[in-house]
Amino acid sequence: MSTEAAINLEDLPTLRQQTICGEKVYQLEDPTAYRQLCERLLAAGYDFPQCLSGVDMEYGLRTVLHLRRLSDQAELTLWLDVPYDRPHVPSVSDLWGGVDWHEREAYDLVGIHYDGHEDLRRILLEDHWTIHPLQRRYDTGGYLIPDWQAKPWPDWDAIAKEKEEAARKAAEAAEKRAAAAKAKAAKAVKPKEGEGGAKKPPLSEVKKTSDQVAKPKAAQTADDLTKIKGIGAHYVALLKEQGITRFEQLANLSDDEAKRLEEKMNFKDRIAREQWREQARALQEGKS
């Protein structure tokens, strides 16, 4: 996290940060800013180019770049939207050799032009083809869809606001449901089990709601620690040896304690890397 903070994001226009399904996403609309950000990210140690995909968003074309830092396995996603009539994106194949063919493929199939690419030729289709078949205006067979129309460019501010609103509403609804469940649990004699996996809202709320419904019971009994990603049956046993059986205990570990625990159990930075404490906190909040 420390290196991430060192990246200067202030002067980059049109940059939005968001987290989607656990992925950190930097969204951009300005090609120059994209190039600058990529250079800074490389300097910040994002050395492993995972993937570059072109997506036709129906209002424009999007380049999605997935980066990884091998030193701490941090992952990052970059979005850059360009309009159909100016599908030009600065190439980053000189920064990461690994995106060379990905850019050629995105040019070939989606039609994004990567400026500065050394050898921007078609890669999968033949040189004399003219269509970019992965655009939505073409059907699966590569023929133009007669009444296809591009969508207007989205208003990102409005969307962000809407999202916030939706998240707030979801949280409220979850609270209500939790309260209802509590009341129900107080009435019902036996607690409901096994309802967890079936119907779930998107991942951001997964942990909270499922546990609210499933485990309305008292806090002092042992929790199901395997709900935390990275903890399996083996580690549950090890943690039990150290006297840790509940989310609460795990969530409230200080850095020193965590380090001691890791040393004792031979974990090697797993608590921080897999964010056990954060996960445990989320689960704990969901429970109470």
């Binding site: 999968l124 289709l125 269509i131 073409y138 590569g142 023929y143």
Partner: protein
């Protein structure tokens, strides 16, 4: 020599018998081309591996099209590859046969609708035996080879050279450039 059987004279006993002998020899010594395209190629390799062993029947893989008798089209043929498949077929010396292996080579398979896929290799080269499956098991390929063997041994079952199919090169064009429209 070329294609016997097409112009054989039934009244000429010696030539007729020679034809039979040559057809028999051809049917017992069919050398496929080492030409794998996709998934089916692995099963094609498997058919010459210990449990199946195509060499038992005299199927002996050759690398160069000049020395091969059968072309096994083992996988999806797309428009880019279709031209090469046709070239390879033309490079093979007569007499030659084609086995279309798997759903993709037969009719495009699961990729049939796609913009770059040829819906069946029989649009480009004449096919003698079709093997269904995705991918077919090695036994299925062996059976196809044996079917072809019987076909070659019996001249009445052979394809007639004059009627060799003309390839439909429209299928190799870019969508929208082939005279068809949606």
């Amino acid at each position: 020599m070329g294609l016997l059987g097409s112009d054989r004279r039934p009244d000429n006993i010696i030539l007729g018998k020679l034809d039979d002998l040559i057809n028999l020899a051809r049917s017992r010594s069919m050398w496929p081309l080492t030409f794998g395209i996709a998934c089916c190629a692995i099963e094609m390799m498997n058919s010459s591996a210990p449990r199946y062993d195509a060499d038992r029947f005299g199927f002996f893989y050759r690398n160069t099209p000049r020395q091969a008798d059968i072309m096994i089209v083992s996988g999806t043929v797309n428009k880019k590859m279709g031209k090469r498949v046709r070239t390879l077929y033309e490079q093979m010396a007569e007499p030659k046969w084609v086995i279309s292996m798997g759903a993709c080579a037969n009719q495009g398979g699961p990729f049939r609708q796609g913009y770059s896929v040829v819906e069946g290799v029989d649009k480009i080269v004449p096919v003698d035996v079709y093997v269904p499956g995705c991918p077919p098991r090695p036994e299925a390929l062996l059976q196809a080879m044996l079917l072809l063997r019987d076909k070659v041994a019996d001249p009445e079952k052979r394809y007639i050279p004059g009627t060799l199919m003309e390839a439909d090169f429209d299928v190799l064009a870019e969508p929208g450039k082939d005279g068809r429209s949606l």
